[in-house]
Symmetry: D2
Subunit: 414 residues, 4 copies
């Protein structure tokens, strides 16, 4: 294993920590989280770890977790290390001893919880997509703006901005390393719906999930593409498809599904796949694909940016790597290089392990917690803001509108 000199490290560590002893304790940031399934576990890991790895101005405290089922919520609290349990998010939001509300529920409850939390003077972290409709997202954005003027911050959880490799890509684009942008090529490929017998979960029902691949995967890639490009989409042309329109109901889970057939199946009411092309405001072209039917692709969020001076490419299935082609080099020695994004001068990496010792998926949530804590402490508007989430929502709405209107090119509302 590669180590820096441990003596040196000890000295450095001692020095960087020494003032703390003398100073007053860091104030806490007391987090209350709503939801405790997949995203809840990931956010828990983020809150628990961020202060152990980074020097933070506030100490995150896992104060309360909230879920409707008291037993399950209690179990999640024990598992993930949350101090207390609530079964009604309204009670959580009303508590005086909570500073930040972290919303990890399905999209249909985001707006209601976020608005209440902001109204109660809490900082808010809201999972993506921000909401199920543009209207909800607009209301949330207005509330976030108002709250910001009162010193409260609101962030949307596009965690893939916080992979060190994507953060490095953003930095390189901002530095001008790829020059004038020509093409952005993005796909988010998964395969968990390939089997027609996979059951009809809430993610396949419009009333809860809002949309299918589009809102789940498409939201991520629209945000990431615009973030890396440093500019917004101007319009899109789209196709969507639902390949398998009827699926078996999950065992014992017939709560509130409208179109239940005699055979224990129900209608899939969201898209299985969404393809769209578009133009950025600068004139660069973009293509997007979001699907859950790409057999063998498990979590292949891929993005490539081609500019006049160079190109960048990333694949989430190899998240510690960034491909970079420097177009200004002599052709004889040019080529896409694989940057192993584990060096101390790479984003977030000075706090982690020696070069070559990679990070994983969950670290995006550690970095998200880190960045949000800084924003709270410094009163800065966090990125991505609710306004960013709203803008992504508008792109998704334009995609749906284009798909309904025979793929006609549809401008994004400003």
């Amino acid at each position: 294993m590669r180590h820096p000199d441990e003596d040196e490290e000890d000295i450095r560590m001692a020095q960087s920590q020494a003032p703390e002893g003398a100073e007053p304790e860091k104030p806490p940031l007391r987090v209350g989280m709503v939801g405790y399934a997949f995203m809840g576990a990931a956010h828990s890991q983020g809150w628990r770890t961020a202060g152990r790895v980074f020097d933070l101005p506030l100490t995150p405290v896992l104060a309360a977790i909230c879920g409707r089922d008291a037993t399950a919520a209690r179990a999640a609290a024990d598992r993930h290390g949350w101090a207390t349990v609530e079964t009604d998010w309204r009670a959580l939001v009303a508590r005086d001893d909570i500073d930040l509300v972290d919303i990890c529920t399905p999209g249909d409850s985001h707006a209601e919880i976020a608005l209440a939390a902001l109204a109660a003077g809490k900082h808010v972290l809201c999972e993506k997509p921000l909401a199920n409709t543009v209207e909800e997202a607009e209301a949330m954005t207005r509330a976030a703006e108002a709250a910001y003027r009162s010193g409260r911050v609101a962030m949307v959880g596009f965690n893939y901005r916080r992979v060190p490799a994507t953060a490095l890509a953003r930095r390189m684009v901002a530095e001008g390393r790829i020059g004038r942008l020509r093409h952005v090529r993005v796909a988010y490929l998964q395969d968990w719906l390939v089997d027609p017998q996979f059951p009809l979960t809430w993610r396949l029902r419009k009333e809860q999930a809002g949309s299918g691949s589009l809102g789940d995967l498409g939201a991520h890639i629209v945000d990431l593409a615009q973030y890396l490009a440093g500019e917004r989409l101007a319009g899109v042309s789209a196709l969507t498809e639902t390949f398998v329109r009827e699926r078996p109901l999950p065992a014992g889970a017939v709560r509130g599904l409208s179109a239940v057939s005699a055979h224990g199946t129900g209608q899939v009411t969201v898209d299985d796949a969404a393809l769209f092309t578009g133009r950025f405001t600068s004139g660069a072209l973009a293509s997007f694909e979001a699907t859950r039917y790409a057999t063998g692709r498990k979590n292949a969020l891929r993005i490539e940016l081609n500019g006049e001076r160079g190109s960048l490419a990333f694949d989430l299935e190899r998240l510690n790597e960034l491909s970079y082609h420097d177009g200004t080099e002599p052709g004889e020695r040019a080529g896409f290089r694989r940057i192993l994004v584990t060096e101390p001068d790479h984003p977030y990496l000075d706090a982690w392990w020696p070069p070559g010792h990679g990070l994983g998926y969950e670290h995006t949530f550690v970095h998200q917690a880190r960045d949000l804590v800084h924003a709270v402490a410094e009163g800065r508007r966090p990125e991505p803001s609710f306004a960013d989430g709203l803008q992504v929502q508008r792109v998704l709405a334009a995609v749906e509108e284009s798909a309904e209107k025979n793929s006609v090119y549809t401008p994004i509302a400003a």
Copy 2:
């Protein structure tokens, strides 16, 4: 180096060749080629080599090469081994001692030469795209059908069907290995126009080239996608773009360019990039991208097919490999495998080198020559036929129509 037993090989070779001595000589197939630049060199290599590697029913003879400039044509004949030279394609077509006319000129002359050659009773091989317009392609297809009834064959040069890896992919799709098709993802990425100072060659002028990336690269990927899928596109929605609209004229080459500016520049009148999405007749979705602005991508023709039972992926920059995911395997051991397409039971490979000793780009032309010789000798309709070339032309026309009509979904004419 890995060798089969050479004694065994000698015996096999002797046996396979022995009958020849007793039999009458193989009849010749006398080829006359029009054009002698890049494609001419590649086709020459194909004709010269095919009979040295494969057991062919006819012996290809490089009988005549044709170019307007006598000196240059003579030089090309010497260089590539053609027996005689013509400076007028009409003279070539009129010769009695030519059996097959191989058309390697820019697209604007394909129709005229092909129609004359077919009328003169020649077999025809025509470079892609088949023609610059659907109307020309229709006329060529009608003529090819008529000629076929008289025993003449006509083929269009979509050589990328003849990479062993793509031919293997086709075989695997036909065997049902990927099952019901869901997604086809295709791109053809080059970067030779990134520099705005690259000169205005004939390929950037609509009157000669017909279109830009679309006809040059797009034609290849539309054909390959439909060939591998085993089905046709039903409709498309498209965006096209010309990023750099004015370019310097090539040195000393101001022949017949209309819009020449005072500064020695001229208008680019074709597309730089074309993006389109579409639906196959089965309902599978497809996305296509053709561009000459993908910095660092030199000849990246990439195609991925996702089906209910598996997936296949190919990249022309690694043309000896095919990626295959078998979706029926247990997840624990499943993954995309890199098939090194160099085994003796892979398409075309029994005639070549031992496993792992790869082929190159030019071998597609050797294989094309081989397949065409067989079609001629056996009176079989070659694939891809002019009708296939016409259908690709119709897809390209629908792409252009959609791009002009605000990307609206445009059905492909049947």
Copy 3:
């Protein structure tokens, strides 16, 4: 993002946790860790996280951290979440409220601490290499055996056995998937000593580190190769080299270095690189390389195993992947497949994220903590045991002996 059905997950989680409420609390496993630099941070992460992710029979408690410098140790305790601080490891070992001593110091103190801890009735986890000499390792192994008869377990920290991909490889070898072994090819490549101005840290001094690349990197690959092969090395032939024999002293760190020159430089007294070949007991051949001079390779621990029925390959720089070639498949479709080791039926993965959401380096320490907790609770001899660590030490000693004796083939002592 791909999610399992969250409702289902909630139910599962609630069920799996429900009994806990009724049952008595899980007993704690109180850990005392000696050392707090790089390895200390990694082990802290492991102890802190294991019980949050896995269902463990005991709850790890970060009870005490020990370091000579009180201020630095206090800072480390605060940073990593350890409850108390000791400045003398003897005091730590003597404490009644410590169940397990985790030794993260340089190799020259392993034996003394481990022997004391075992004598004091503690379980022990000892970082690799087990010791700086075979004699020390033998004493430690005897003590571990004695302790085991009294219900105490001792494990050596070869954490790379606990990458899911290597654990999967072991499982596949044990299942016979690669058949009779022919070749094992292993390298551990880093590059942090390429610069001759990199300072003379303790890792480059024989009296503290024992050896250089050999003990640091070589120990890992010898253990991993034998573990994956499921058999031991019989003998080795070795070359070692120190490319840069004098290096600048680290700033302000001239404590106890013997050969300090006038110019503030000191002698490198360990190997920079070690190459060796060997034979396994089955007759399979092996090659090993450990170096800190492989420019551009950051943490490239690579291992490939070739057997009569198949092959496996792994690279730590892509730790979520395992390459597998199934030699029993028809050649037409065979190829090395990239298994993304993130499926729920892969080792350790049922407790983590959905497929395609990869893990990182530090998770090996989480898994190590998990496995050790189980061993403690169940009174099982943990793997790798001190005896395993001793055997690795004997291989390293044979390497050194061979290198000193002109590379002559040197059997491994049994």
Copy 4:
């Protein structure tokens, strides 16, 4: 497809060819080839193609092919385009109308044929390994030196120096791009002997093949490593192994095998695999592995060179690519880059296809023919010379000696 401007190309071609018409015809280089199996086919392709692609000072003529079996030799002549046939190599060597003898037979006849050809005043190209013993190679080298003084050249067929990517690597090493060399890591992995039922071909018999993997694969990698490093090996330490010692006889091929068992099997009398480590004269370390038992590796000749300023890596299974790490770049953007070695300023590439249109295995023989023609025309000593072949032979002899002497480090005779 990417094209240069075809008009421009036509002009260039016309100009480059124009003088030819005026000048006297290029003189021929009349080649007589001994042997016509795998290597014979590859060399034929080389001789036939070189003058069609490159501007050569002499025109290669496929004058005569020689094989003991008249029918088979006749068939090979027809297949590959050789003008005449001989059945006795002595007759070939005696012919006045042959300028160069190309020896493609097994190693046991190289010396006799080469000595006779040189004595007869022919230029010679001899397949590798140069001979089966050092003594033979010494005699051949003396004869080559004497012939050179009379204007005859002799070259040994280490064709892997002539992959554009390896030639580029050599150029970059010579330019100092990787700086002082530290490590060379080489393997040549094939798998065609994995099946114990693969028959006992001549390549597995010491009296014909000289050695097994060592002479066949090891000779290639020793030559390539020394060529790329630009220096020679000083000594080696080796292990060899024959995993399967008895194999079935090939059908109907029981000519002259001594140890034929009752069951139609015979003894394998060569090595199956050879592993060796070594030191270069500069002190750099090297490791080598040659095997025919690396299941799934078909033709994986891999070499990596690590130097103080950078690294290079190559794999023959991806022969159009070279990996390069520039160690002088800032770590933030450094990484191994994949150079697609298809640019016009790459070695040999100005005569071939546009960027990204790769070459294959057989092109190494085209390049070999090209380089040899130049050497003949210019009276230059070709590389690799017989002296180079002899030196490789000495390395192989040292490997065998070390393997016999318990792997002891064995210096290479100067």
